[in-house]
Symmetry: C2
């Protein structure tokens, strides 16, 4: 079925005698001698107007087809009478490909996000979720392009892992056995298997051979958190860089976030406009500012001072040594810095064993990037490359070095300073679209009790 | 640690007074007044020669560091005396970043693939596995670039699925419970959860909104197959296209495979040369031919005729209705067609319910792409878009329509002809590199009993 994409036709330079479009009817208006139908094919948020004269076979084929029906129309592309777009189609032939049962749940009115989650298989056909998915795809490509241009190698670290102690949250278990016979020795891997929470450790092994790598794949958390910010399955981006310190890592993270925003501003303007207009007023301005201005940088100690002196009352009291809570993060990014801010050099007691201990012996070379409206977008660190210090930190954190034999090997054989960060792709999409519930930036979200699609 | 990549320095246009390189020593040769060390930083397969004069502090810092040690060298980039490359470095300063414990398993001799699998955390530092991983990364980007340029949207279909009957193989189960209390009602999703074997069904829902989509993500098989072609975790590429029939799908698959090969021939020539020279002689010629020539197309019935008339004796007897075995596939691609060949229109009895039934009522609009030396690279089909025929096929295949309520919805609401295929990324890499064991094209492969990294 050779046909043109509506996105291409809307950019046509001249009229065309014969073009074919295929898509779904989004609205229909009948006049005496013709029908107007608006067609969407997913290639753009904009519908293409088609005029079907009443005395044609095309009109007879259209029948009473309306919202949701699928059609294939051949006709001429001519300048549009209306002001909204440059081109429309005068249909010559029309094939009705698929009708719509009367219980079609997508009506022309606006549906709630809650309702649309119950029809995740159909919501991509709405303007909003179509736009979200197109932005998601463009952002994914922007991620790959940025790293490719900067000589990073895309690697795929394993999803199935024997590690149970990566320290980033509760893990799902994986088995090939019936639940009634769960003996690890008989199981697929002859030992307990879990779903990864991070590809970092394996990423380090690859960076210490290839120099600069990144992962972009699914990760999992078995946490029963029913919040607008948590899902059980999400995609993470994890670059890891050999011969890199914490400052260079922050430079990389800043350039990365700004590059992805720049790509979306350039290439997804039409879809972004929907979110600026209907979902988060001021979104475009905020993205442009984040794209153009350098990010702030504060040490954890400075951040604690700022929070202590803040006139705001926090639910969680502030003192040196606490884990920053969302309210603290938002104050720092939104009220104090009024832009994204890196917080660095956290006390080692609240950070995992693999982060590099600073010369003060008390803090680690860690950084979190806090973003207005989002909170933590990125977490990263320089890694502990010194074998003796790594092993004492493992002991302090209650880890068994034997569980990490290959990871410590990396420090015994040509160890080098290196650093990396993790960024949740869905958090990035929430920043790009202003969508406030993570369930609404994923095609088929996974949350406790929710596995229907 | 600002430094230049060796890949960039080797392309320098002129000498440079002061450059810094960081990397790992791959070999060292001591003369009376200087040492030659060859450095690799992962950015290219080619090592950079560095000359360190014996009367310098750099030389003192180098000490007896040898193969595997990590160094950072600043010096001048000057024309090389040797014939092998254009540039070398005369070192002025040298920092020894990391030494090597005496039990370093990577010696300068050639190691067996079997041995290297036991040190998967270190094998990326060898020439062969470094080259494989760079080709893998370039191929991954070529996949994304091809689809992006052709207006496909990259989507992420779920890894965790409630479906247990996708028909593509045995599935792993996922639980958040201890093995001792495996009651589904109490489990994370309140019902059985499994790891996906394919994103196709969800991909169809997205294609029927966005037009053209593709997935590129991990999939899983819990099959105890200890063969050179099977792993439990591998990455799949699955495009799905609305308004597309089987012939257009084959055109897409052919353009896609040729485009990825073209990208690798252009952009990974140095790494490909290693495989052509040491792993699979004739590889480059074969890739160039596959890139330049159209693929063959045969119906299943024609293929059976050809096999029946073949002078070869097959272990599995040939008659209409059989599933083609590897020996048959290889005969068709290697001996008969001598190039990649699509086999189409298989009997419906050996294919899943979702494939579109042809007008003969006996075959389905399926296609497999068979490639010399590889066997099946791609499997795809036009999907059954007709609600009544889909439901009778489900019944024939013993599936319960209720398990697919949302999938059948897609046929009730604006159904359209559509088609898609799946391609195992690792199979593609085996074709691109000539590597014959799938364990050797994955950084950390997962096979029965193997979960150490």
């Amino acid at each position: 079925m050779h046909h043109s994409l509506i996105a291409d036709l809307l950019c046509a330079k001249a009229p065309m005698d014969s073009v074919t479009v295929c898509g779904w009817i989004r609205s229909r208006r009948d006049a005496k001698n013709f029908s107007f139908i608006a067609i969407n094919d997913g290639s753009t948020r904009t519908h293409l107007q088609c005029v079907i004269d009443a005395d044609t076979e095309a009109y007879a084929n259209l029948g009473d087809a309306n919202n949701g029906a699928s059609v294939c129309i051949t006709g001429s592309l001519v300048p549009s009478q209306g002001a909204e777009q440059a081109w429309e189609i005068h249909g010559k032939t029309l094939t009705l490909l698929g009708t719509v049962d009367p219980d079609y749940p997508l009506q022309k009115k606006r549906h709630s996000d809650e309702f649309l989650r119950t029809i995740a298989h159909l919501r991509p056909r709405t303007n909003k979720y179509g736009a979200m998915l197109r932005i998601r795809a463009e952002a994914a490509f922007a991620v790959h392009r940025f790293f490719h241009e900067n000589h990073f190698y895309n690697v795929q670290t394993p999803i199935l892992t024997g590690s149970d102690c990566e320290g980033a949250g509760e893990m799902f278990r994986v088995t090939s056995l019936d639940a009634s016979a769960p003996q690890d020795a008989n199981d697929f891997f002859s030992k307990p298997c879990r779903l990864t929470v991070s590809g970092q450790l394996e990423g380090e092994a690859l960076a210490l051979a290839l120099g600069k790598i990144y992962t972009f794949g699914p990760t999992f958390r078995a946490e029963h958190s029913n919040t607008p910010r948590h899902v059980a399955e999400f995609w993470m981006i994890e670059p890891e860089v050999a011969f890199c310190d914490l400052n260079e890592l922050m430079d990389l993270a800043e350039r990365f976030v700004q590059s992805v925003i720049g790509s979306i501003l350039d290439r997804a303007a039409n879809d972004l406009a929907l979110f600026d207009q209907f979902v988060a007023k001021g979104l475009l301005d905020q993205l442009k500012q984040t794209h153009a201005n350098s990010f702030a940088r504060l040490s954890y100690a400075e951040a604690i001072d700022i929070l202590t002196q803040a006139k705001t009352t926090f639910a969680y009291p502030v003192h040196y040594g606490i884990d920053l809570q969302t309210e603290h993060e938002r104050y720092l990014a939104e009220s104090f810095c009024k832009k994204p801010v890196f917080i660095t050099d956290y006390p080692k007691d609240i950070k995992p064993f693999y982060m590099r201990v600073n010369d003060d012996g008390k803090t680690v070379a860690a950084m979190d990037l806090l973003v207005p409206g989002i909170g933590e977008l990125i977490g990263g660190s320089q890694r502990e490359e010194r074998q003796d210090l790594l092993q004492s930190r493992m002991a302090e954190c209650g880890q068994k070095p034997a569980d990490y034999w290959w990871y410590t090997d990396l420090r015994r054989f040509g160890s080098v300073p290196h650093a990396g960060f993790g960024l949740g792709f869905e958090r990035l999409l929430m920043m790009l679209t202003g969508i406030s519930n993570i369930r609404d930036v994923i095609a088929f979200p996974r949350t406790p009790g929710s596995l229907d699609f």
